[in-house]
Symmetry: C2
Subunit: 124 residues, 2 copies
């Protein structure tokens, strides 16, 4: 029995909010035990809680704003386009990845794969 659409959309919105303004532990709390993270696609897959925490701890101190652009749920899985704007001094770095996630019955994330590349980064 897959998690329902509404709960999956809540997890996605929480994910985006926490990546922007939350702590690494806030984000980690959305992941199921045994979850995997591949960000971006093609890099080593993180398979331990410690390595996933390390990934989000690296972005925790950054000044970031995030917003969901579009989320699609199908059969307990989802893909969504969102935007991250990182401010460093006077410059803004804007990236809009598409993340693909699978979820357990409680709508906790069991896997995340992020599609983006440096070519997608806009600097203003």
């Amino acid at each position: 029995m897959a998690a329902d659409r509404v709960r999956i959309l809540e997890t996605i919105q929480n994910y985006i909010d926490f990546v922007g303004k939350g702590t690494a532990d806030d984000v980690l709390g959305l992941y199921a035990e045994g979850a995997t993270v591949e960000d971006p696609v093609g890099t080593d897959v993180r398979t331990t809680r410690e390595s996933i925490r390390e990934f989000y701890a690296a972005i925790e101190p950054l000044e970031q704003e995030t917003r969901l652009i579009s989320a699609k749920v199908a059969d307990g899985q989802a893909a969504f386009l969102f935007e991250i704007v990182t401010r460093v001094g006077d410059q803004s770095y804007t990236l809009a990845p598409i993340d693909v996630m699978t979820f357990d019955d409680d709508a906790k994330i069991t896997s995340m794969r992020a599609f983006w590349s440096n070519d997608d980064m806009a600097i203003s």
Copy 2:
């Protein structure tokens, strides 16, 4: 050696154009031998050329307009958000799926998985 970003983006644009205005065989020509199609995610995976052709032949006669909204390429794979507007009489049915594709060295599609559900359909 993965296909390069530019060729993958060309294949994606051709895919979107052919789904809108091309024939089933136009679309099929973008797929590698042995490719698979799961549209939407959670339905039976089409594994034969005949079954993939049948899928696109079903939409070939429809009056459709398509446009790419955002495509992200990573390591010879891609995810993209696009819009399909289908006109039936006076009504327009708008759907914006996120498709995830893998590609061979020649940027032919080796797998396609489409994230969308009926909840995403807008009627105007």
